[in-house]
Amino acid sequence: MESLTLTDGEQKYYSDLFVYCDTDNTKKVASNGRVLDLFRAAQLPSEVVLQITELCGATRLGHFGRSQFYIALKLIAVAQSGLPLRVESLNSVKDLPLPRFVVAKNEQEARHTAMYPDSENQGSYQGVIPRPPGRGQVKKLSAHEVIQPCVPTVEPQLQPDTTSPVVSPHQSPPTSPHWRKHKRQASGGNVERQPVVVAGAVWTPFREPQAGPVVSGDGMWSANSPPPVQESWVSLKDAHPPSSSTLPAIHSSPVQENSSIRTVASATTTNETQRQSSGGYDDPWKITDEQRQYYINQFKTIQPDLNGFIPGSAAKEFFTKSKLPILELSHIWELSDFDKDGALTLDEFCAAFHLVVARKNSYDLPEKLPESLMPKLIDLDDSAEVPDQAPDVGYSGSPVEVTPNKSPSMPSLNQTWPDLNQGNEQWETFSERSSSSQTLTQFDSNIAPADPDTAIVHPVPIRMTPSKIHMQEMELKRTGSDHTHPTSPLMAKPPDLSEETKLATSMKFVTANSGDGYSSSDSYTSDQDPITSVVTRQRSHSGTSPEGLKVVTAPPPPPPRPHASHSRSSSLDMNRSFAAVPTGPQSAGVVAYPPAVPPRPLPTQTSGPHSGHRSDEGLAAHSTTSPQQIPEQPNFADFSQFQAFAASEEPSDDGEKHPESLPVEKSSEGAGPLRTVKSDNQEERAAATVNSAKGSIMAPPPKPVRRRLKSEDELQEEALPLKSNVIATVLAAQPSIPRSVGKDKKAIQASIRRNKETNTVLARLNSELQQQLKDLLEERISLEVQLEQLRPFSHL
């Protein structure tokens, strides 16, 4: 047979018919009773039918395949239009009306027109439709009856044909469901009805028998609509036994549901009919006012706030009551949850409800959400309108919305988009909320990834707190309540620290985290905290990378700040204690700290002895110098020492030794402070002048000094002679300090301090030497290993 081109409506219609006829579900229809009935219903002379059968090739095949069936249907339409039966006419005839089949077919057509597309269609369909609207529909029915030739014949059944072919395209979708319903109805025992094809689908107003049934239907509708629908879908089925009498049995539950839905639907049957008569094509998915009102009521039962959301779980429960398969419910959800937030707004809920209703009436679910079901933010406005429109018209029962609603709804669609966008914001916010309630994969807040860091960081700052506080307190003490002041040296430190090691940066980062975490409530600026923390860390770990890394995971040890800060003040003890402590574990790093103190007087003395004095000499010099230093008062003496040192340094700077000693100092711990002291001399003096407090004087300088020391430590190079020189210089420097005060007490104190300083220097030197020893031992071991590796070969 030639290829057949069918319009969409025709396609649907034909497929529905085919399905209907395909009782055996074999995809090919034998000339069984259904087909014959169908053809007979076409009200064509039998010879025409025979001719059609021949043309379509069924005679040849002995059965109707799908294509044959379609061709036959098309030919029937051709014949019914009065056109000669020709094969060519299959495709040549344009705008061919759908084949009309009396009774059964008529119903289909009626359905087509009425059904699905719009309540309008339905209403126009004549009697079928106006289920809920009943009253209005009755009138319409009368009107339709006129239109529908079949009415009288179809009486029990829906007014099928009435719809003109024009409407048929609209009808086609309905027909399919009709057909299906039809089948179901058959099972329901409405064999008769079947041909009528329950317009079923949702809006089978068609069904509504015309006058009487309509009335009763109306009664039913009005009565049942809210209750049955509200009773949950299950009860819908039960609700309409009476209706069966009036309505085609087909309707039974679905119909009843439909009717109830219809009742809910807006009532503009008149409008609908008008539309239908005018051939207006409406979206079958539109929600009538009644329906919408019903949906809104249902929404309220779940979520009183019309602007609120129904969470997914509640919606799931609700729609599960409809007894639709989960898969279909899932699909409905996908269609209706427009913003994909796991919750339903009023619009979404109405759309979902509508889809469920449609599905219950065996309407196929669309692949995409129909436009009319798109969530509209003007929903509430529509619902406000619903009560106005709903009452009178009668429930045309068509699913089509009331025109008034429709018109605003359609443009509202356009308008809703921006609203949707705005609403999406709400929805999005809600979605975060709701999705958090969802147990599913969502990682709305990607805080999780950050958690480990924060988890790591948080403990750190907690621990850091005390140190920070401590540091800050120290700062305060030292600087005297000036926040900025402590930060300045601190500020100065981090850059220096960062220069030293990469760890500084990493540590800074970590400390920053911790600092941020900690400093959130801290009065200090976050800058200070991380800086201080970094500084403290640096100090504590003085450039040891492993320690720096450990800082990230483990609370940093309390920063040696105190001892760093007290370089020369009476807190010398602290210095010493700190010096003693660090020298043990950390020979290189911490050693830097103690030197901070001693160098000051030492440099002044270095200018004197200089050059390669051995430690012995230095010591001797030191001893000699100590009395010189004794008169110097501790604090003021420091100051004076600074000055003296500065004074001594200045001339000594010229000396070559200084440069020499400087590198020497660099190499040694003692050198560190010396050099730093030298360079910091200016600063120290300035600082000293600035700070009247004893301790405070030391505070700023020690820090820079410390820094230098650290850098120098890193730059350290093992050189015993260098160290000895340093010691010598240190020791030598001591006696060069002039005594400003001649008090014995002060002198004694000064000497004590000097001695202590010397001790620290020596201790540092010792540690350095030990370090060198270790290195050498390691080298030796490595060499021995190499030797052993080579030895076997030598054996061979």
């Binding site: 959800w333 949850d337 969502q442 990834p449």
Partner: protein, 139 residues
């Protein structure tokens, strides 16, 4: 050019697997299955920093003579595997990433559906259509 797209659950059973050439599907199923080993290996390698951008695009898992296998893991250990045909111009990395992103978005939409029980096979039509679109355009 994705010829096969698979979504594997945390317990390493497939939630969704679809191949474009309907015939010879078994081969792609097998490929996806073997690629899971590579995925696990990559996960454990990256697992050091657990929060290290868990939604990880694993990239090319391994190439064979005909096709390349790409993988992506989500925070919830759901793995996406794309088998791409390498006969055509090899897809750029960005394209693969965008495909994974789309997959992930559709997957999250599926998850949002309260009627979907995690662990069920994905039967969402929207997901299907998205995957089909990806495969059609690719091949």
């Amino acid at each position: 050019m994705a010829v096969c797209i698979a979504v594997i659950a945390k317990e390493n059973y497939p939630l969704y697997i679809r191949s474009v050439p309907i015939q010879n599907e078994l081969k792609f199923h097998y490929t996806v299955h073997t690629s899971l080993d590579v995925v696990e290996e990559k996960i454990s390698a990256v697992g050091k920093a657990m929060a290290d951008q868990r939604e990880l695009y694993l990239g090319l898992l391994y190439p064979t003579e005909d096709y390349k296998v790409y993988g992506c893991v989500t925070n919830s250990k759901v793995k996406f595997v794309i088998v791409a045909d390498s006969s055509n111009t090899s897809l750029r990395d960005n394209e693969i990433r965008s495909m994974f992103r789309k997959l992930h978005n559709s997957f999250t939409d599926v998850m949002c559906n309260p009627f979907y029980n995690p662990g069920d096979t994905i039967q969402s039509k929207a997901f299907d259509s998205m995957v089909s679109a990806m495969m059609v355009q690719a091949s």
